[in-house]
């Protein structure tokens, strides 16, 4: 067996360079010696078992979102695990309490809690003084700092992504994702590297607006959970007497629909966000019965002709929202996330390309009539996943409250500065490898709100900032990077980009942003 491994390695090397055959004896000796010198890694099975147990619970724990990156930065898993246990205890407490309520609910009595009503308070805006959110200059930096912690770096150097709040139960942070995939999605792909620079080819900019509103999302003040809190406060649940605890507040709650093609629903009170997903046990997964049968497995692979048209996908999503009476008044007309098609179209081997089982329908978020984008220039909004195999909605995410504070901030009106920042932002990376240099054209921008994150004191704030979004006009087929460059119009943020490179760090990274 081991011998086969060495022969395979040698053969691979010969395939690359046949001349190496002349050194076979020496190579074999080296390879074998090196392979044999593999150290004992002292792997501890108990550690693995404990970690697995923690991890699978952690999926729930993420709801409390005390800043996962913070925990990572501590580099102390023991510390992390202690926090996990506290969190697990809290979650268990909520779960037990809810069970108690369900079990003891009298017929005809009514739980005075109405998530639909609570989550339908859209378009609430609270005006505040100009500049009330403090300096926004560091928002660009927050982006790059979070990335360092959020694990995805290219060549070990800092790259940028937003703090991704990827939906589902696991994410307590606002789970809004950009249409076409967030930057973090790009980053998670292993991609070819190119050097590229941007050239502005759009019309001259005319910017006359000297100030505009910045929006800060309001959430997690307990207004959604308080009715639920009172239901179990002071109750005795088995051996647990909640009278002995104080200040109890529900963080999240989940429900399962136990029927064929039923759903799981999770409501995060802290982030004021709802997630609906498959109740996995009740969905058919025939492919799981294939065992090791490759032919069986292949027979279940979707083909490109299995992909529904955009109209069909939207109709399925619309019907689901309508049937379930899910209010989505704050969202714009549906669009399809066809990000996967970019890769499919670029693929050389389309027959073997993996066709996704689900496609997302996005209902872009609109605030004060303005569409909202992420920093990658992709739509943010309500995401409804449609399962192509069953032609059913399999998940809904980013169904959030939309309560905001607003505050006026001074905007930059110097077009030259803004375009300069866009070019710098786009061209901020260089590469050490000998790689192809590509010029990319930036077209005329459109104005929109762009979401930024600010992290302070272990809390995250979502800020929507007026910005310009420059489209990349001529991406080559091999280009996997963002199709847009977003530049904030708030003067202090722009100054920060121009003066401190905060939005335009020179770094080494792949062709993805």
């Amino acid at each position: 067996m081991e011998k086969d491994k060495f022969i395979t390695i040698l053969q691979e090397l010969y395939d690359w360079n046949p001349k190496l055959r002349s050194k076979e004896k020496e190579l074999l000796g080296l390879i074998k010696t090196l392979a044999d010198s593999r150290p004992d890694t002292q792997f501890d099975e108990q550690f693995a078992a404990d970690l697995k147990k923690d991890l699978l619970s952690h999926r729930i724990l993420l709801d409390d979102d005390e800043g996962l990156e913070e925990k990572f930065n501590l580099f102390n898993f023991n510390y992390m695990r202690k926090k996990l246990y506290f969190g697990l205890g809290a979650v268990a407490l909520c779960g037990v309490a809810f069970l108690f309520i369900l079990i003891n609910k009298q017929p005809g009595s009514e739980v005075s809690w109405n998530p639909k009503e609570s989550f339908s308070n859209y378009d609430q805006f609270v005006k505040t003084e100009p500049g009330a959110f403090g300096s926004l200059a560091k928002l660009n930096q927050a982006e790059s700092q979070e990335l360092t912690a959020s694990n995805l770096q290219a060549g070990g150097d800092t790259v940028t992504t937003n703090r991704n709040n990827e939906t589902v139960v696991s994410s307590a942070s606002a789970p809004i994702r950009g249409m076409g995939g967030d930057r973090v999605d790009y980053l998670k792909m292993i991609l070819p590297m190119h050097s590229f620079e941007y050239i502005y080819v759009g019309e001259p900019l005319e910017l006359s607006e000297e100030e505009a509103l910045v929006y800060r999302r309001l959430k997690g003040d307990g207004s959604l959970s308080h009715q639920f809190d009172s239901l179990f406060a002071g109750k005795k649940i088995g051996p647990l007497d909640l009278q002995n605890f104080s200040g109890l507040q529900a963080n999240s709650i989940s429900f399962n629909e136990n029927k064929p093609f039923g759903y799981s629903m999770s409501i995060d009170f802290k982030e004021e966000s709802i997630y609906i997903g498959q109740n996995w046990s009740y969905w058919q997964h025939e492919i799981n019965n294939c065992g090791g049968d490759q032919a069986c497995f292949d027979s279940y692979r979707l083909k490109i002709e299995d992909v529904l048209s955009d109209e069909e996908l939207i109709a399925i999503a619309d019907k689901f929202l309508s049937d379930k009476k899910i209010n989505h008044d704050s969202y714009d007309e549906a669009q399809i996330d066809n990000f996967w098609r970019l890769n499919y179209e670029a693929s050389q081997d389309k027959d073997n390309y993996y066709i996704p089982e689900e496609i997302s329908v996005i209902y872009p978020l609109k605030i004060d009539g303005q569409k909202v984008y992420d920093q990658g220039g992709d739509f943010m909004g309500l995401r409804v996943n449609v399962n192509l195999r069953h032609k059913l909605v399999s998940g809904v995410s980013n169904l959030n409250t939309a309560r905001f504070e607003t505050s006026k901030y001074i905007l930059e009106t110097d077009a030259e500065k803004i375009i300069g920042a866009a070019l710098k932002n786009g061209s901020r990376f260089y590469y050490t490898d000998d790689i192809e240099k590509v010029s990319l054209e930036l077209g005329a921008p459109s104005k929109a709100l762009v979401r930024y994150w600010r992290y302070e004191n272990n809390t995250s704030e979502e800020l929507l900032v007026p910005a310009l979004i420059f489209p990349v006009n001529n991406p080559p087929a091999s280009y996997y990077g963002s199709r847009y460059i977003t530049i904030p119009l708030v003067k202090e943020m722009l100054e920060e980009i121009i003066n401190n490179n905060s939005g335009g760090d020179i770094g080494i990274m792949p062709l993805v942003r």
């Binding site: 491994k5 080296l30 150290p39 970690l51 360092t148 060549g155 139960v169 994410s171 973090v184 490759q294």
Partner: protein, 191 residues
């Protein structure tokens, strides 16, 4: 069913919230990732902490997994987690693994082999971190060149070339030991 394809299915199931699928992927990869991290840190506690972080990150970000190679995706997270670890530690900002700092423990019960292994590790220490990474990924983690190329963001032929060159550099470092290596190999083969 190929491993790659079944893992992809598991990853996509996990992406859709199937914890059992994530658990299966965890079972497949925990040892591999732990070992990979250990090869770079040579410390059990650090390897446990960092591999824990790797899987926490994987769990957090699995919902946005869009690649077609879960293994490479996970190893990439692991690789950057280790790099982060050293870069965030101001004392070790310039290093990407800790071979220079490591104190090798028991390598083998066989004295002769142990001596040789120590020499090999001495030679490995003289290589660059990049060389060591390539050699250990292929020979200790048993990853194919195709996957190594994805993790290191190289093309496959470039990964092979780099591996070959790393081997060559190791060979130079180990030149004085080659006769001993062949002797041991000969003995082992004839046992």
């Amino acid at each position: 069913m190929s491993d790659h394809y079944s893992e992809l299915k598991l990853a996509l199931s996990a992406k859709n919230g199937d914890q059992a699928a994530f658990g299966t992927l965890y079972n497949i990869y925990i040892r591999k990732i732990y070992d990979f991290v250990y090869f770079k840190t040579l410390n059990k506690e650090i390897a446990e902490d960092l591999s824990s972080q790797v899987f926490l990150k994987a769990l957090k970000y699995i919902s946005s997994f869009k690649g077609d190679n879960f293994s490479a995706w996970l190893y990439t997270i692991a690789r950057h987690t280790v790099i982060d670890h050293y870069r965030l530690n101001k004392d070790y900002k310039q290093i990407e693994d800790c071979w220079d700092l490591a104190d090798w423990g028991d390598l083998s019960a066989d004295t002769e082999i142990k001596l040789l292994m120590e020499k090999v590790h001495q030679a490995m220490k003289k290589l660059s971190a990049a060389d060591r990474e390539l050699l250990t990924l292929r020979l200790w983690s048993d990853l194919p060149f195709k996957e190594i190329a994805l993790i290191l963001r190289k093309k496959e032929p470039a990964a092979k070339m780099a591996f070959s060159r790393s081997l060559e550099r190791l060979r130079k470092e180990m030149q004085p030991l080659l006769s001993l290596i062949f002797l041991l190999l000969w003995k082992k083969i004839n046992l």
